[in-house]
C-alpha cells in the first residue's frame, strides 16, 4: 500500500509519463529493423554472458575464501602470497590482465611445438577458457580482500564457544565462521557481482561472443551505432536489476538483531 502511494505522487506520474513518451519516441523514430535478423545471435550472447558471470563468480568465490582466510589468520608464508595476489589484481586494469593472459601466453605457443598435440590444446585454442580464468582471478582478487575483512569481523566469542564445545576446526569453519562472515558482507558481495557483470564486456576484445560483441557485429554490418548500444544498456540494466533482487532476497534471509 505504501509503495503504491509512493509511485502515484504527482511528480512521479509526470516523470513516468515523460519516460513512457521517450520510449515510444525511440521505438518509432530510431531504426529497429535489424532486431529480427540478429535475435538468435543476441540470445547466444546473452546466454554466454550469464554463464560466464555465474561461473566466474562461483569459481572466484571458491578461490577468495582461502585467500581471505590466509590473510586474516594465516601464517606469514600463506598470508604474504595471498596479499601479493590481491594487491596485484586490484592494482592493475582488468583489460591488461585479460590481454596478458590471452596474447601474452599466445605469444609463447610457437616456441613450444609439442603443445599442439597435448590434451589441453583444444582448450588453449579457444578464447573462453582465458576469459573465464582472467575474470575468476579478478573476482578472487577483489573478494579475497572483502573476505579478509569478513573473517576478521566475526565475533571472536562465537569461535571460542565452538572451540569450547569441542568442534573440530573444519566443522567450526563450515558451520559458524564461514556463514557468519558471508552474511556480514552480503551487501558488498551483491555490489561486487554487479561490478563483475560490468566487467564481462571486456572479454569481447579476445573474440568471446557475448552480449556486447553482438552490438559490435550489428554496428559493423549495418553501420547503425546508437540503437544497438541503447538496447544493450537496457539489457544490462535488467540483468543488474535481477542480480540486485536475488541478493536482496538472500539478505532478507539473514535474521536482523
Amino acid at each position: 500500500m505504501r509503495t503504491w502511494h509512493a509511485w502515484t505522487q504527482p511528480h512521479r506520474i509526470v516523470l513516468i509519463g515523460l519516460f513512457a513518451g521517450l520510449v515510444i519516441w525511440c521505438a518509432m523514430a530510431l531504426r529497429w529493423d535489424w532486431i529480427p535478423q540478429y535475435a538468435p545471435l543476441a540470445a547466444e550472447g546473452l546466454w554466454r554472458t550469464i554463464w560466464i558471470l555465474a561461473a566466474t563468480c562461483v569459481l572466484g568465490m571458491l578461490l577468495a575464501i582461502p585467500l581471505g582466510l590466509a590473510q586474516a589468520v594465516g601464517p606469514w608464508y600463506l598470508s604474504a602470497p595471498a596479499r601479493l595476489f590481491c594487491t596485484v589484481i586490484r592494482g592493475t586494469p582488468l583489460l591488461l590482465q585479460i590481454w596478458l593472459l590471452y596474447y601474452g601466453l599466445g605469444s609463447l605457443f610457437p616456441q613450444i611445438p609439442w603443445i599442439r598435440s597435448s590434451e589441453l590444446w583444444p582448450y588453449l585454442r579457444q578464447a573462453w577458457p582465458y576469459a573465464v580464468l582472467a575474470l575468476t582471478f579478478s573476482y578472487a582478487g577483489y573478494e579475497g580482500e572483502v573476505m579478509r575483512g569478513a573473517f576478521a569481523s566475526v565475533n571472536k566469542g562465537q569461535l571460542e564457544a565452538a572451540n569450547a564445545f569441542g568442534m573440530p576446526r573444519f566443522t567450526m569453519f563450515r558451520r559458524i565462521w564461514l556463514p557468519q562472515a558471508v552474511r556480514n558482507v552480503l551487501p558488498t558481495l551483491g555490489g561486487e557481482t554487479i561490478l563483475q557483470l560490468k566487467a564481462t564486456p571486456l572479454v569481447a576484445t579476445i573474440t568471446v561472443v557475448e552480449l556486447y560483441s553482438v552490438s559490435s557485429r550489428v554496428r559493423s554490418d549495418t553501420f547503425i551505432v546508437y540503437e544497438p548500444l541503447l538496447l544493450l544498456a537496457v539489457f544490462y540494466m535488467i540483468i543488474a536489476g535481477v542480480i540486485a533482487l536475488i541478493f536482496r532476497r538472500l539478505e532478507m534471509q539473514v535474521p536482523e538483531r
Binding site: Y103, G106, S107, F109, P110, R116, L124, R125, Q126, A127, T205, T207, V209, S213, S216, R217, R219, S220, D221, F223, V225
Partner: protein, 257 residues
C-alpha cells in the same frame, strides 16, 4: 555580480578559443592499430608506411594542411560522421554497403582478398576446404562480411579488433586460417614472425562485398574535399610520386584501373 562577470568572460574566452581552434586543418583518420607496411608506429611516436607517405603526397599535391589522426578502426566511420576526422585513409575498401553512409574518393590502390594459413595445411581459398576450420578476421572489414556469407561451414569465425591480433593467433595455432588484404599479408608472411605461414590464394571475387579498390572515405555531401583529394590522387598518379613511394615498399605496382 563579480562572479557573473567572471563566468561570462570565461565562457566568451572558451567559445572564442574554440572558434579559433576550428581552423582549416584537414584531419585524416588512420587506424590507431599498426597495419604494416601501410601504417606502423615507430618507437619515437611517428607513423611511417606506404599509406602515410601517400597521405602526405596527396595533401601536398592538393594543397591541403593535413593532420594524421589515429582513431580506433572499429569506430572510424562513426568518427567521420561525428566530425572528429574529415577523411578516412586507412586502407578502407569502397563497397556499396559503405556508400550508403559515406562517400569515397577515387581509389588509390587495389588489393585482392586472400586466405593465409599454415604452410603444412591443406587449406586453399575455397569454402569447401575451410569447412570445419577456425577462421580469424578483423572486425568491421569487407572480409568479415565475406566470411559470414561464404564460409558458413566453418567451425567458428573469430572476430578480432585488429588484423595483427588475428595474425598472432594464426602463428600461435589458435586459428587455422585468416582472410585479409593480400599486400598486408604478403608483408606478414615475408617477415620473421610469419615464417610459419603462406598465402594460399585469393578468394572467389564478389565485387559487391569486396569492393572496387581502396579509397578515401568522406562525409556524404563533402564534395569540396572529395574533389581536392581526387585531384591530389590523380596528380601523384600522373607525376610518378605514387610509383616512387610504391617502389620503396613493393616490387610491383599496387594500383590498377
Amino acid at each position: 555580480m563579480i562572479f557573473k562577470k567572471i563566468a561570462i568572460a570565461g565562457m566568451m574566452t572558451v567559445l572564442l578559443g574554440a572558434g579559433v581552434a576550428a581552423a582549416e586543418k584537414v584531419k585524416i583518420g588512420i587506424a590507431a592499430e599498426p597495419y604494416p607496411p601501410f601504417a606502423s608506429l615507430e618507437a619515437s611516436g611517428k607513423w611511417i608506411g606506404w599509406e602515410v607517405e601517400v597521405i602526405d603526397a596527396v595533401c601536398a599535391a592538393a594543397k591541403l594542411d593535413c593532420v594524421i589522426t589515429p582513431v580506433a578502426w572499429d569506430g572510424i566511420i562513426s568518427s567521420l560522421t561525428g566530425q572528429k576526422i574529415d577523411a578516412i585513409m586507412a586502407s578502407m575498401s569502397i563497397t556499396e554497403e559503405r556508400m550508403k553512409s559515406i562517400d569515397f574518393s577515387n581509389p588509390y590502390y587495389n588489393t585482392p582478398a586472400v586466405i593465409v594459413a599454415d604452410k603444412s595445411s591443406a587449406i586453399d581459398a575455397t569454402p569447401k576446404s575451410l569447412a570445419g576450420k577456425v577462421i580469424g578476421i578483423q572486425a568491421s572489414t569487407i572480409h568479415q562480411t565475406y566470411a559470414n556469407k561464404y564460409f558458413k561451414d566453418a567451425m567458428e569465425i573469430r572476430v578480432y579488433q585488429t588484423q595483427d591480433e588475428a595474425n598472432q593467433d594464426l602463428v600461435a595455432g589458435r586459428i587455422d586460417a585468416t582472410q585479409a588484404d593480400s599486400i598486408a599479408m604478403a608483408d606478414f608472411v615475408g617477415s620473421d614472425n610469419g615464417a610459419c605461414c603462406e598465402i594460399k590464394g585469393p578468394v572467389a571475387n564478389d565485387k559487391a562485398i569486396l569492393g572496387r579498390g581502396i579509397g578515401a572515405g568522406l562525409r556524404k555531401g563533402d564534395d569540396a574535399l572529395r574533389e581536392s583529394l581526387n585531384a591530389g590522387i590523380a596528380a601523384i598518379l600522373a607525376n610518378g610520386i605514387h610509383a616512387k613511394i610504391t617502389s620503396k615498399y613493393f616490387t610491383a605496382s599496387i594500383y590498377s584501373e
